[in-house]
Subunit: 216 residues, 2 copies
DNA sequence: TACGAATTTCAACATCTGTTGAAATCAAAA
DNA sequence: TTTTGATTTCAACAGATGTTGAAATTCGTA
């Protein structure tokens, strides 16, 4: 247990509270009270509340994008076009591994992302700014894997994929009740085993060669 | 344009604002100011803020559950076990039809549901209370359609499905930017055409006869 | 019209909110 | 030690928030 600077304490507490209660549901005074620092320090280090939130988003996005980009490179180095499953796995693997095995604070970060990705006001813009360049790389790889895919289908498939991931990281415990305790929303290992084949099958159904599979 | 009672005006404005800005991001004074009524009326008609929100959720959930249950009955009356696609369609069809063609205020309601379904604090409980009985009926039908399905896989598939729907109703405009204007997050007709085959393929990949398809 | 209930208005409460300016403290370099 | 810049503390602001009790008004009905 190393000791943290005041700035680091704010970051740690803010990340957790924003993930649990959302942007509007978290006050600077809760954050600074729990971190044991003065409220005015938020202004000094981050400008204001929005600045703090943006900085939290930005910080980890950079490292994450590099890591996921490398994962895609590794897949494509072996074979390009790569199988759909491998591309999907490269995108998802990194996220879920961080949550399962690494630094547990990543869980809060993904919880924050879940809140942002579902925010109708500024969530779409924020997600696009931080992650769309990376997503485009993955869609390029998927396009090469399924050359006859309709463009719009590719984007909508990613949209469904993103939604499934987002609800997972929201960790709402709903599946615990629905399944009568059989499943647990925090069991990211279980998600990891099932998300890749589920999403890959969805992509193939809509983007694979054999004609138009849309419904109705 | 019929004239609404004060209670109805509160309901109409609250539904829209809660959908756009979430529970914590919406104040009673915004709601009542925009509705042109006194703040104290919220207390009189709904008890308090949470009471208003709960009532908004409850109101439409009842009608919706009946309608979707009937849609499932209609499918099962034709053939049971029914094809996966038809079961999935019965669940999704009702929602998307309401948004596309009927009373546009349903859009706000689904926007609210999106916020609730992603809320880590009390969202899971609220969704379970209102919708899990109906969801269990659909999962029963899917279990009969895929008798060898692992129980946990069924629940996780529904989880992915729910996430895809939720992000759709959040309507964040992210896909507009990502696709360079090719797709629009409010184009629920496009979602309707693609969600059913996408989700059905995912279910089949994880729950269909031929052994274990989980990843890794 | 008169009565009783339902509805609406008014004014205020205690508390919390994000933000701020200026003083105080600290740490390191000259 | 003195100086300089970074960091932290303090006190306060103006306004918003959910909630409330009681008075005033409206409405349906006897």
């Amino acid at each position: 247990m190393k000791k943290l600077s005041n700035k680091e304490r704010i970051v740690a507490v803010a990340e957790r509270l924003f993930a649990e209660r959302g942007y509007d549901g978290t006050s600077l005074r809760e954050i600074t009270r729990e971190a044991g620092v003065d409220v005015a320090l938020v202004r000094y280090h981050f400008g204001n509340k929005q600045g703090l939130f943006d900085e939290l988003l930005r910080r980890r996005a950079e490292a994450l994008n590099l890591e996921r980009s490398d994962a895609l490179d590794a897949v494509l180095a072996r074979n390009d076009p790569a199988p759909v499953e491998e591309i999907v796995d490269a995108f998802t693997h990194t996220l879920l591994n961080k949550v399962v095995s690494e630094d547990p604070t990543w869980r809060s970060y993904f919880g924050m992302l879940a809140q942002v990705n579902n925010n109708p006001e500024w969530g779409g813009k924020a997600m696009s700014r931080h992650f769309d360049p990376l997503v485009r790389r993955f869609l390029d790889a998927l396009r090469r894997a399924m050359p006859d895919a309709d463009e719009t289908n590719l984007f909508w498939c990613y949209h469904f994929w993103s939604g499934a991931l987002t609800l997972t990281f929201a960790d709402t415990k709903r599946i615990d009740a629905l399944s009568g305790g059989l499943c647990h929303s925090s069991d990211f290992e279980a998600v990891h085993q099932r998300l890749v084949p589920f999403i890959s099958a969805g992509f193939r159904a809509l983007c694979q060669p054999q004609g138009d599979n849309t419904h109705d």
